[in-house]
């Protein structure tokens, strides 16, 4: 199993764990861990953010993109919420850190 961790920094680059099941539905998606049975529901926003984790963008890159997408939202809130979201998914091993990444 990939080594998931709760701590996610802006420099980290995340990608979907290929051992997990990602299933989209009309208004969201489920992440399912067939080994543990862990199941996580993502709403439409969550799906969009999860899909930005392509193994190339850093967490900082994604936060920057989200700031452009949600200009009305406070920068600090976007950064904090996004980091928490990723930490949660990483802790459940739905996302894993890349050992090295491009920019």
């Amino acid at each position: 199993m990939p080594d998931g961790t709760k701590i996610v920094t802006r420099e980290d680059c995340l990608k979907p764990n290929q051992e997990m099941v990602f299933r989209k539905e009309e208004e969201g998606a489920f992440l399912f861990d067939p080994h543990t049975g862990n199941l996580k529901y993502l709403n439409a926003n969550g799906v969009n953010i999860y899909e930005l984790c392509d193994g190339r963008k850093t967490v900082g890159d994604i936060i920057t993109l989200l700031m452009e997408f949600y200009p009305e939202m406070a920068v600090e809130k976007i950064a904090a919420d996004t980091k928490l979201f990723f930490e949660n998914l990483a802790a459940m091993q739905f996302l894993t850190k890349c050992e090295s990444h491009g920019s």
Binding site: F30, F32, G37
Partner: protein, 356 residues
């Protein structure tokens, strides 16, 4: 196997294997009261067992049957359970609940009394329940229970023919201030098997349609909360991610039949292979911790479920819906649940919820 990993949180006490009604769908096919004397466990044996179960994590006791109020010392039992600080739920056809019994139920702080009603009008209900006049008694019970401010639930067994009764029953529940209305599609076990042979059951397309209609329209029309029993894999995304669903916690319950037989649940009345001893002579703690059937169930559920249940992303939550029904149909506790099977065969099981 670490037993504490599986606390025994609920006991289902089948207080009488007899029933005074003749429901066409009953999943345990109980004999009638006039069919001769019934051998029931002594109260002292039962209380000793409940004390042992508390050590294993027991918090809730459901009194059911057959018809639980056919047991003569049910009041004494309820008072004992209340004195032990246990949460009590009752499932009954309601025909034997009068004003005095409602007061006792109140005194014992019963959490919920579920009463069966298959139609808002007597004709439909009495026909499906097999005894004329039983509708009137069941509705009267709901009045008595309301007068005592007892939390009630109406449970409807759904056939094709009483689908038109759903809304009328929801309205009746509202009128009677019943907080919860649960609709159970008839299952192909016990007498229900013949319901399926006669094709009087509701097919899966219709079940899904009804579920979505309740969610989209009916549910918001009445104060009574309406719940349609269907495996989570077939529920809408909104339902799955919203309110808690009724799910069987098969890994945390035991059934004790009227004669003291220990089984997974009431299924032991018809599927005797699922019986694990008798509280009159066997130790409940030993059964719960070491019986091979329970160890097998814990090992296989849900990781080794077969068919569509084994491929469903909700299997760790759903646990394959009703394992008793699956066993009755196939003789295998791992087999898939009939509704999900039917949905899958008809291409109605959401592809997004299947893996492997």
């Amino acid at each position: 196997m670490v037993p504490d990993e599986f606390p025994l949180t609920s006991l289902y006490l089948y207080l009488s294997e007899r029933c005074n009604l003749r429901c066409r769908h009953c999943w345990v096919s109980p004999p009638a009261p006039e069919d001769g004397d019934e051998q029931v466990m002594e109260l002292s044996v039962l209380t000793r067992t409940i004390a042992a179960a508390k050590e294993l994590g027991l918090g809730t006791v459901k009194l059911t049957g057959g018809e639980p109020f056919l047991r003569k010392d049910i009041v004494e039992l309820m008072r004992y359970l209340h004195g032990e600080g246990l949460c009590i739920d009752i499932e009954s056809n309601g025909t034997m609940i009068d004003n005095d019994m409602a007061r006792v139920i109140k005194e014992c702080e019963v959490r919920q009394v579920s009463v069966s009603l298959d139609g808002a009008q007597a004709a439909q209900h009495d026909k499906l329940r097999g005894i004329k006049g039983c509708h009137e008694k069941s509705v009267a019970a709901l009045h008595y229970l309301r007068a005592e401010k007892i939390n009630t639930q109406v449970i409807m067994s759904l056939y094709e023919e009483n689908i038109p009764e759903i809304e009328a029953l929801a309205a009746l529940c509202d009128d009677l201030e019943v907080p919860s209305f649960k609709i159970n599609p008839v299952m192909p076990t016990g007498r229900g098997e013949k319901v399926f042979q006669r094709r009087e059951n509701v097919d899966i397309e219709e079940l899904i349609r009804i579920d979505r209609w309740i969610e989209a329209e009916l549910g918001s029309k009445y104060k009574t909360e309406i719940y349609f029993c269907m495996p989570i894999g077939l529920k809408s995304l909104h339902a799955v991610t919203g309110n808690p669903l009724y799910e069987c916690h098969i890994l945390n319950i035991l059934g004790i039949l009227a004669d003291g037989t220990v089984s997974l649940c009431g299924i032991g009345q018809t599927e005797t292979d699922l019986n694990m001893g008798n509280i009159a002579k066997d130790d409940l703690t030993e059964i719960w911790r070491h019986h091979p059937l329970l160890q097998k169930l814990r090992k296989e559920t849900p990781s080794q479920l077969s068919g569509i249940c084994g491929r469903c992303i909700f299997k760790f939550r759903c646990l394959g819906s009703c394992r008793a029904c699956a066993y009755a149909a196939s003789g295998d506790l791992r087999s898939s649940f009939f509704m999900c099977d039917e949905a899958y065969e008809k291409n109605l099981f959401p592809a997004s919820r299947i893996y492997n």
